[in-house]
Symmetry: C2
Subunit: 317 residues, 2 copies
Amino acid sequence: MNSKPYAIGIDIGGTNTVFGIVDRTGKVIAKGSIKTKGYSDFNEYLDRLYVALSSLIKENNAEGRIAGIGIGAPGANYHTGEIVNAANLNWGENLPIASLVSEKFGGLPVTVTNDANAATMGEMVYGAAKGMKDFMMITLGTGVGSGVVSNGQLVYGHDGLAGELGHVVVDRNGRKCGCGRKGCLETYCSSTGVVRTAREFLQRDSRPSLLRKLDPETITSKDVYDAAMEGDELAKEVFDFTGDMLGAALADFTAFSSPEAFILFGGLMRSGDLLMNPLKRSFDENLLFIYKEKPEILVSSLNEDDGAVLGASALAW
Amino acid sequence: MNSKPYAIGIDIGGTNTVFGIVDRTGKVIAKGSIKTKGYSDFNEYLDRLYVALSSLIKENNAEGRIAGIGIGAPGANYHTGEIVNAANLNWGENLPIASLVSEKFGGLPVTVTNDANAATMGEMVYGAAKGMKDFMMITLGTGVGSGVVSNGQLVYGHDGLAGELGHVVVDRNGRKCGCGRKGCLETYCSSTGVVRTAREFLQRDSRPSLLRKLDPETITSKDVYDAAMEGDELAKEVFDFTGDMLGAALADFTAFSSPEAFILFGGLMRSGDLLMNPLKRSFDENLLFIYKEKPEILVSSLNEDDGAVLGASALAW
């Protein structure tokens, strides 16, 4: 066992990459972030990450005291250390991220998994799923990720790529998804999905809405949230629609592994009851009778950024 | 460990209950069956089962040599020994089948699980999934059942009721299901689903079809199969439609646990390539790119009845 006191956790999201130095008790000593997108290629991104992380390590007197690096990233494969061309990134096919990052950081051991699996580990060790043996974690951010825990173990699957519930098809003739197919859950129940729904609702009729003051091309899920909080009916219906879709999907997911709880995590959960109320109602309505009133729908108890970073860092020990 | 040489396996299907005496090597020494439906209540069914099974035991000189009884039944809960009101049976809510059967058979230990989970165990120990750690078993009979194996373990879930993939909703405004909801997979991709599709197709237009000679009320999936094998276009389209639906559903299921294979089992699999060809094509078309060409779709290598009986008997050891 490595006796160095710190691990690095890196969470590569569709929008931001968040990283932190974590001690053995699960305390995040320091953290930082860079944008995930906007680089010409992966090497430019890696250079930027190296500069930012190195200075964080230096500032915190952690040089030579890092046991290893854990990375959570969309499409990352625990078994091979690769990222399989993720729908929301643009880094080519089968990027061997574990070895590239290890090389950049002087040979530090690097372990990777799906970003959502990493967050799931954080939730199981430190968060709302502490002590649970069967639960699902659903991350609602730019996309929708998931981690499935069954019999107390993360479900990695045969090839290490299990738990892509954001790409379960909820409407076979539905919205185009970045994965090339149509109607994936994440085209509806992510922050980008909320924006697409808002645009559709604005075009569908001519009802007055606070959102009409904004450029439809640059509307964010935060704009829709703000409008709904001011009582805007159209904006509230966007969240009702989103919650309906998600509740029905979680009801279907229950039939797989009959989880004790769904833990919801990610930027979209800042919407609070606007999303949770329709979600819970739809879940109850759509659940197969044998599961009625059993699975809980819980919000992650971890700080939004820390959960993913903690989970990623847990890989490194 | 019990030293008696035999176990009883009982598979309670929606139509027939098949039972057998199995030895420790997995050989079915003798078997029999009774109808599952058509009794006034569970006690009448149990009396009938007792008479049939007792005489089978007697004929095979197995009296006093039975280690225990394993039962696979829809909605049966491994943890509680109960059957939760199954959509296709009519035995009231929360029937304590393990204790009732044990009492009837002079106190023999009785273990129960979901009929599909039992078949899954049979497949893992003796069949096409031998040596696999991540696979899903899908049973296509009167209804659609399933068993999920992850990390080499059956996924029972928090309450013992995991793996009800026949009740994943594939069309939210679709056909009425026995479970009280709409559009469940089993309303399309079971033998009864095939019959419903045939009736719909016959009503939709007036094309000639061999099936028009039959009473639509009493058509069976075997009739549809026979017509398709004689080249009947409408009947072939029924299987195309069924395979399409099932292939798309299996593609979605892959996103959960990334299985090495799907093992298909049950009466509808007698349809052979009529079902398998459209199924495999649809599966390939609908699969998320990261899983492409990975999961195999295999037909159970066990005798149709023996798989379920063997799996159920394996519970008893």
